[in-house]
C-alpha cells in the first residue's frame, strides 16, 4: 500500500476505535520501511484530531473517545519500539505523571485523561488512585517528567491538590513542573486559587491544555 492509501486507513481506524486495524496498519508501515514520524503525523494524528472534533460536536461520547485512544495506543505500541531501533528519537510531546490524590479511590476520570494524553503523544506514568502525594514528586523526579496531573473527585480530597503544590514549593521544585488539576469539584478558579498551572474540564480539553503548556516551555 502506498502512503496515500495507508494514511486515510490509519485515520479511519482511529476514528472507528478499531485497535486491531490500527495496529495492523502500523505493522504494514514498519515493514514497508516508511518514515514513521510521517506515519504518525499524517496517518494517525489526523484521526485523533477528528475524534476530538466529533467529541466537541457532541457526536462522540466517552466509549467512542476511549476506544479511539486505545486504538492510538495499539498503533503506537507497534511504532515506538521501531522508532527507538532506528534511533529516530522520541515522538513524545512530553512526560507526564498522573494519578488520583490520596484518600480518593475514584479513577475513571483520571484513566480517561491518562489514555487521551497517551494518545496525544505524551509518555504517561499513571500512578493509579489513592496516591500518596510524595509519590507524585518522587516519580516525576525519577522519570524526568515535565508535568504532574492531579485528579480528585471529592471536595474532601481536592485540598490535596493544594498540598502537593506546597510540597513542591518546600522542596524547591515548583518551577520544574507544570501542575494540572482536574476532577468534579475542581475548577479554573480553584486552579488559580491554589497556584496550579492549569485546569481542564474533560479529557479532550486536558490534552489541549497539556500540549499548549508543553509548547510554551
Amino acid at each position: 500500500m502506498t502512503k496515500s492509501e495507508l494514511f486515510p486507513k490509519m485515520s479511519e481506524a482511529i476514528v472507528a476505535g478499531d485497535r486491531e486495524a490500527a495496529a495492523a496498519l502500523a505493522g504494514d508501515a514498519v515493514r514497508g520501511g516508511l518514515d514513521l514520524l510521517d506515519v504518525i503525523e499524517r496517518g494517525y494524528v489526523p484521526g485523533m484530531q477528528k475524534v476530538g472534533e466529533l467529541w466537541e460536536q457532541g457526536e462522540y461520547f466517552l466509549p467512542e473517545l476511549i476506544s479511539s485512544a486505545e486504538a492510538m495506543k495499539a498503533a503506537m505500541a507497534v511504532i515506538d519500539p521501531e522508532l527507538q531501533k532506528r534511533h529516530l528519537g522520541s515522538r513524545m510531546s512530553g512526560r507526564v505523571v498522573i494519578g488520583t490524590v490520596e484518600g480518593d479511590i475514584h479513577d475513571i476520570g483520571k484513566n480517561l485523561v491518562a489514555s487521551m494524553l497517551q494518545a496525544g503523544g505524551f509518555e504517561v506514568h499513571d500512578l493509579g488512585a489513592d496516591v500518596k502525594l510524595e509519590r507524585f514528586i518522587d516519580k516525576a523526579e525519577e522519570v524526568g517528567a515535565g508535568m504532574i496531573c492531579l485528579s480528585a473527585l471529592l471536595t474532601t480530597t481536592m485540598t490535596n491538590q493544594r498540598r502537593l503544590i506546597g510540597m513542591l514549593d518546600d522542596r524547591g521544585l515548583r518551577a520544574k513542573y507544570k501542575v494540572l488539576v482536574g476532577g468534579a469539584p475542581a475548577s479554573r478558579k480553584w486552579a488559580e486559587e491554589i497556584g496550579a498551572d492549569g485546569y481542564a474540564e474533560n479529557a479532550v480539553a486536558a490534552v489541549k491544555l497539556a500540549k499548549d503548556l508543553a509548547a510554551a516551555k
Binding site: L62, P63, T156, N202
Partner: protein, 490 residues
C-alpha cells in the same frame, strides 16, 4: 368492603429474574470476586468456596450461596431509640430516610454549596426528627470541623442524642465500627438488647466490578456479629464499572450483593442483610453518575424485585436529584424516584434532601421532599371502598343545585381520602401574586425555620447520655482529638 389494592410496579418477568439470578450465581462461581479482607476470605474458604490467594479472589459456589440465603431473615424489625416503635423492613413496607453522607450543604442565603460543620449536622438531625414521612434518620452530613478520623462515629453520636428515629449509617474506617456499636448498645443497655432490637443499619459498598474491600468486608463481619443489619450497596456504573445493559448490570449487582450476604452469614448465621444499591446510568458525556436518570431508577426497581424473589429486604438510593439547587430538575427527579421506588416496594429508600450526585444536603429540599413522600404514601395506600354502597347513600336526597361541601359524607371522609396541599402552591393566580409570588423554596425555608424553632429534644436517660459522651470522647482521644466542637449547651 373491598380493600385497597397495593399499587405495584414490576419491571421483570419471573423468567427474566431467574435468568439474571442464574447468571449472578455463575459469575460468582466461574469468574469469582475479589475479597481484600483476610478474615472474610478465610470464612469463605472454610465454608468450601474455592480461594485464589493471589487475587485474592473467592469463588463461592451456588450451594454455599443458597445455604446462606436460607438463613438470611426475610424481614427485619428496627426499633427506635425508645424501643417502643418498630419498623418492619421487609415485604412491601416502604421507609424513607435522607440521602446519606453528604459532604456539603446547600446554603439557602447564597444558593451555593459549602462544607458542613457541626451546627449544620445538628440542624439536619433536628429537622429530620420533625419530618414524619422520614421514618429513619441517616447520618446524612459529614462535619468538616472534626478530623476525618472520627467523622463516622461523631455523626452517629450527635444523631443519637438529637433524635429517636432509627439510623441508616456506616463506617469510614475499620476502627469506626466498635465505638459506633458501643454507642448503639449503650442506648439498648447492652449488646444483647441491641441484637434483639437493632437501632441502626450499616451500609457497606462493594467496589464495582466484583470486589469487597477490606473496610467494607470488615463492616459486614462486624455488623453481623453485633446483630446489626448490613445494607449491601452495589454501585455499578453502566458501561464504566458494570456492563452497559441494564440486565447486565443487574447480574453484577446480584453477584456482588450475594457475596456480601454470604460473608455476613458466615460471620453469624441469621445475620440481617438488606439487598441494596446505588448503581447509576453512567453519563457518557460528563463521566458522572446520575441518580436522577430514568435508567438508574429502572435498575433500582428491578433489583428490588429480584431481592423480593430471593426473600430479602431491599434498599435503594432514590428520591434524590443531581441538580445543584432546588430547581424543577430537583423536584421531578426526586418525585419520580420516590414514586417508582415506593411502587416497586423498595423497603428502605435513601435519598430525600440530597442534590448533586449524593454529595450535598439541603434543609429546604428535606422539607419539600417530605411532602413528596407524603404524596407517595398516599398513593401506596391506594383506593379503598369506604361506604356500602359506595356512593348511592351519598346521593340519597341529593337535588339539583346542592353540592357535597356540607354533606356529612364529605365531612366523614375528605380528610381520610385527601392529603391537602402541603407546601405546593394551589392559590388562584391573583392570590399568588398578591402573596408575593413566593416560590416553594422560599416557603420551605420558612418552614425549616419554624420546625427548628419548635423542635424539642426527645428525652434521653442521663446515664445513657453520659455513656455516649464517654465513648465519643475516648474514640476522639484515640485519634488525637482532645476537644469536640460541640455547640454551647449541647
Amino acid at each position: 368492603m373491598i380493600e385497597a389494592k397495593r399499587p405495584k410496579l414490576e419491571l421483570l418477568s419471573p423468567a427474566f429474574i431467574d435468568k439474571i439470578v442464574d447468571e449472578g450465581f455463575a459469575l460468582l462461581e466461574t469468574h469469582g470476586i475479589m475479597v481484600e479482607n483476610a478474615e472474610a476470605l478465610k470464612l469463605l474458604g472454610d465454608a468450601g468456596a474455592r480461594i485464589d490467594k493471589s487475587g485474592p479472589r473467592a469463588y463461592p459456589g451456588r450451594a454455599l450461596v443458597e445455604a446462606c440465603l436460607a438463613t438470611t431473615p426475610a424481614s427485619i424489625d428496627l426499633r427506635d431509640r425508645t424501643g417502643a416503635r418498630a419498623y418492619t423492613v421487609g415485604g412491601d413496607e416502604v421507609h424513607f430516610d435522607p440521602g446519606s453522607a453528604a459532604v456539603t450543604m446547600l446554603d439557602h442565603a447564597t444558593q451555593a454549596e459549602r462544607r458542613a460543620a457541626t451546627p449544620d449536622v445538628v440542624s439536619f438531625y433536628r429537622l429530620v426528627d420533625t419530618l414524619d414521612n422520614f421514618h429513619f434518620q441517616s447520618t446524612g452530613l459529614i462535619a468538616s470541623d472534626v478530623p476525618a478520623a472520627v467523622t463516622d462515629a461523631y455523626r452517629l453520636y450527635l444523631g443519637l442524642i438529637l433524635s429517636e428515629k432509627p439510623f441508616v449509617t456506616g463506617t469510614f474506617r475499620v476502627e469506626g465500627f466498635a465505638p459506633m456499636r458501643d454507642m448503639l448498645a449503650a442506648v439498648r443497655g447492652g449488646e444483647d438488647g441491641l441484637r434483639r432490637a437493632p437501632l441502626a443499619i450499616f451500609d457497606a459498598c462493594p467496589s464495582p466490578p466484583l470486589k469487597w474491600s477490606n473496610l467494607t468486608a470488615q463492616s459486614l463481619i462486624d455488623a453481623a456479629r453485633a446483630g446489626l443489619p448490613s445494607e449491601l450497596i452495589a454501585m455499578g456504573m453502566t458501561g464504566a464499572t458494570s456492563p452497559a445493559t441494564i440486565a447486565g448490570t443487574l447480574v453484577q449487582i446480584v453477584a456482588e450483593n450475594l457475596c456480601g450476604l454470604v460473608i455476613c452469614q458466615l460471620a453469624r448465621r441469621g445475620a440481617p442483610v438488606i439487598f441494596g444499591g446505588s448503581p447509576s446510568s453512567f453519563d457518557m458525556r460528563k463521566g458522572t453518575t446520575p441518580m436522577g436518570a430514568i435508567e438508574t431508577m429502572m435498575i433500582d426497581a428491578a433489583y428490588a424485585q429480584i431481592a423480593k424473589s430471593l426473600k430479602l429486604p431491599s434498599h435503594a438510593y432514590m428520591a434524590l436529584s443531581d441538580a445543584k439547587v432546588n430547581d424543577p430538575q430537583a423536584g421531578f427527579e426526586t418525585a419520580l424516584g420516590a414514586a417508582i421506588g415506593a411502587l416497586a416496594g423498595v423497603n428502605v429508600i435513601s435519598g430525600p434532601g440530597m442534590l448533586d450526585f449524593e454529595s450535598c444536603q439541603s434543609l429546604e429540599k428535606l422539607v419539600i421532599d417530605d411532602g413528596i413522600c407524603a404524596m407517595v404514601y398516599r398513593l401506596l395506600a391506594g383506593i379503598a371502598q369506604r361506604d356500602e354502597p359506595i356512593a348511592l347513600g351519598a346521593f340519597e336526597g341529593f337535588k339539583a343545585g346542592m353540592s357535597f361541601l356540607s354533606h356529612p359524607h364529605t365531612r366523614q371522609w375528605y380528610r381520610k381520602e385527601h392529603l391537602g396541599a402541603g407546601l405546593a402552591d394551589r392559590d388562584p393566580y391573583d392570590a399568588w401574586v398578591a402573596a408575593g409570588r413566593t416560590s416553594i423554596v422560599d416557603k420551605a425555608h420558612g418552614d425549616v425555620g419554624r420546625r427548628l424553632e419548635k423542635y424539642a429534644a426527645p428525652p434521653l436517660d442521663a446515664a445513657v447520655r453520659k455513656e455516649l459522651d464517654r465513648i465519643m470522647a475516648a474514640y476522639g482521644r484515640s485519634a488525637g482529638v482532645e476537644a469536640l466542637p460541640l455547640p454551647k449547651g449541647f
